[in-house]
Symmetry: C2
Amino acid sequence: MSQPSSSSSNAAESIAIAARRAFEDSQLVDPSERDVALQAIRKTLEQARDQVLAANKQDMEASSGITAHHAGEKLASEGKLSASLVSRLDLTRPGKYDAMLQGITDVANLPVPTGQVTFAKELGEGLELQRVTCPVGVLLVIFEARPEVVVNIAALAIKSGNAAILKGGKESINTATLLSSLIAKALSTTSIPPTFIQSVSTRSEISSLLAQDRYIDLVMPRGGNELVTNIKNNTRIPVMGHADGICAVYLDESAVEEKAIRIAVESKIDYMAACNSAETLLIHESLLSTLWPKVAAALIEKKVSLRCDPSILAAISSVPGASEYASAAVESDWTSEYLGPTFAVRQVSGVQEAIKHINSHSSHHTDSIVTESEAAMSAWCRGLDSANCFVNASTRFSDGTRYGLGTEVGISTGKTHARGPVGLEGLVIYKYMMRSKADKGSIIGDHEKGGKGYTHKDLPKGKPMF
Amino acid sequence: MSQPSSSSSNAAESIAIAARRAFEDSQLVDPSERDVALQAIRKTLEQARDQVLAANKQDMEASSGITAHHAGEKLASEGKLSASLVSRLDLTRPGKYDAMLQGITDVANLPVPTGQVTFAKELGEGLELQRVTCPVGVLLVIFEARPEVVVNIAALAIKSGNAAILKGGKESINTATLLSSLIAKALSTTSIPPTFIQSVSTRSEISSLLAQDRYIDLVMPRGGNELVTNIKNNTRIPVMGHADGICAVYLDESAVEEKAIRIAVESKIDYMAACNSAETLLIHESLLSTLWPKVAAALIEKKVSLRCDPSILAAISSVPGASEYASAAVESDWTSEYLGPTFAVRQVSGVQEAIKHINSHSSHHTDSIVTESEAAMSAWCRGLDSANCFVNASTRFSDGTRYGLGTEVGISTGKTHARGPVGLEGLVIYKYMMRSKADKGSIIGDHEKGGKGYTHKDLPKGKPMF
C-alpha cells in the first residue's frame, strides 16, 4: 500500500470528519426521509443520463488500451476484475442504466433494518431496557471498476443510515466521480446531508483513510485475498472482507449420479469468475470405478481440466479426453482459486476426511455434499467451518439475492459481525436504550446492596421506546 | 509490543493449530456434552482447592513487592488493575473460591447460544435454507491479573463451543497456569478435547499468536485503550475490544433535583475504577444558579473534585468546599478517564450541544440524560452514538448481569459484531445450511434462466435442520 503524503492525510481526515458529522446529523432524521433521498437520487440520475454515459465513454476508451495490454496474461492474475473489464465498465449496454435506476427504488422498498427491537426487559419497576438496531456509522467501501456499484452501495448505505466513503476501481474514475457528485447534488435537496456519500479516487487517499479509526467504523473491501489482507495489515478499523472463494463439492458414498453430475458441473462452470464457484472436487474412495468416471466425462465434455491425485487420475485413464484434460495435482492445487475451467480432484475415505480437507484448505465460503445419508448430511453441516454448508445443491446458490435477503452488500469471508451473503442487516449494529420512570429516577443502589433486586422480566419487543 | 522470536513463533503456531483442531473436532459433539465438561471442571477444581490456593499464595507474595514499588504512583497510571491489585489476585478471601466454582455451574445452566435458527426460507420446492448460530471458532482472550477469570472465560468459551487461548496478567501466572492445567485435565475425561482451553504466559507468545490469523478467529483484549490499540496495530484478526469508558451524565433544562443528584453522584462515586462510571457532567445553561450548585454541593460532600469550564466554576463560588474541590478545566479534561473522584463539568445550551460534545469526546460507552422532556429523551437516545443511552438512570446499570444477559463476556467499545455489555450471544456467529430434497438435487439453472423461479417463502424458524 503506498504511503500517504501529509496533504492526502489532511484531505482524508477532512473527508472522514465530514462523513462522521453527516452520520451524526442524520440520526435525528426520520428513517422515511432516507427513502425520499433515494427517490431524489433516482430522479437526478434519470435526468443526467446523457452526461453519465459520456463520462462512461471516456472510461471505456481509456480502459480498452489497458485491457489490450493485459490480454496475454492469465485470467487469474487479473483477479475478479476478469477479462471482461470493459464489459463491466460499460453502462451503455441496453437496459443497464435503467437497471441501475430501478435498483435504487428496489432498495428504497426494502424493510428498514434500523429501529428493530431485538431484546426488551424490565430490570425493575419502571425501569425498562431495549436493544435497538442502528447504523454502524461511517463505512469505507472499496470495490471493483463497476460504476453502477457506486449507486448500489450509496443506496444501501442511505437505506441503512450509514454514511459512506466510496472508492471504485481506477478504470471507472470518470463515471464514479460524476455519479458521486450527482448523488451529493440530489442529497442537498433532502434532509440527508450531501456529505453522507463521498467518493475518493486514489490509492493514497485510501491509505490515509485507513488511519482514520476515530471517524470510520467499518471498512468493506470487495476484491481478492490480496486486497483484503493488505487492508487488514494497514488499519485498526474492523474489516468486513470479501476475499477468495475456494469452494468444494464432495461426492459421498451414496451420491446419486444425476445429482452428482448436475451439481459438480454447475458448481464449476456456471460462472467461473464468481467466488461461489467450486474449485475442489472430493470423491469418496468407493466411487472411483463407478460414479467418478461418469462425472469426469461430464466435466471433460465441458472442457474442464482435472488436476487429480494419483488414484483419482488412474481411475479415469480410459475416459475419452482424459489424456488431454486430466493431469497430476500438486500441493498448491488444493488451495487454488482458479476462477476458470480447472478442478482439483481428490479421493477421500469418507465425510470426516472430506471435512478435514476442506477445513484445512478452503476459504470457509461454500461447500456442498452430494449424499443420501442423513448422518453424512448432519456431519457435513455441523462439522464444516464454512459460511454456507449445502446438501445436494449447487455452490452457486450462495448469494444474497438467491437467499431472499432482498439485496447483497457482499459475501463476507470473515467470521464476526456478518458471515456469508450479507444483506442490509450486515450494515447495522445495535444500541441499548434504557428509561427509568421511577419517581426518583433509578440508581443501582435501589436494586443492589440490600435494595429491592432486579425483576429481569421479558417484555414484548414491539417498537423502540424512542 | 515485543518482537516474537522464531521459537515463540513456532510455539504459538502449534498452540493455535491445536486450538483450531480442538474446535473442529468438537463440532460433532452434542452441545449437552459441553455442560458435562463444565461439571467435570467444577469437580476437578473442587478437589484441587488446596493446591490452587497454594499457587495463589505464591502469586500474592510475589506481587506484594510489586505493589509496594508502585504505591506512590497515581491510580490512573496503573489502569484498571487499580491499587487493589493484590486484593484482585487473592483467591483465598472467604467465599471467593466457592463463587468461582458456582460460576461454572451458573454458566452451564444458561441457555445454549448455538444451534438457534435466526432465518429460515424455502427458496423453491424442496429447497430449504436456514441460518443457524454457531461458535466463532478460536478465541484469544487477554485479561487482567484476576485468576478466577481463567475459569470464567473457560466456562463461557466451552458453553458457546469456542476453543480459547488465555493470557492473564503476569502477576497471576502461577494460579492461572495451574487452573489452566486442571481444566485440561478435567477435559481429558470428557468428549471435549483437552486443548480446547490453553494458556500462555508471556507477552512474546501474544505477539506471535496475533500473527496466527489463519487459526484464530477473534481476539478479546480486556484492558484499557492502550492495550486494545496496541493489539489492533499488530494483528489482522478481528478484535473485540474492551477499552476506556469516558461516560457522561447530562442534566437537561427540566431535570428534577432528586433524580439529578442521585444519578450524578452514583454514576461518579459508586465504583470509580469501573468503565461505566461517569467522567463528564454536562449542565444545561439554565441550571447554573439553581440546580447546579446543589449538585455540586452533593459531589463536594463526597470529596469529588470538579474540573469546570469558566461559567460552571463561577456559578459555585459560594458553595462550601468549592475553593478546595473546584478548579478550572483544561481541554484534556473532556477526554479523560479519571477512574477516580474527579468530574469534568461543562455548560451546554441544550440536548443538541450535549450530544455533539459527547459524540466528539466520549468513548461511545454509556451516557445518561436527566430530563422530563420526551423530546429531549428521544433526541438523546437516537442522536447519541453510544452503546448505552440512558434516561434518568445511573450509568452504572451498564453491565451484562444487570441487563439480565445471564453473564458478561466483557463490555465491547467496538461498533461491529457486539456492542456494549456482551453475553454469550457475543461469542457466536452463524452459518447457512441448505438442503435440497428435489429428485435431481438443486442447481440454480432449475430456478433461473427460464427456470421455475424462486418462492422465497418464510418458514417457521424452529429447530436446525442438522
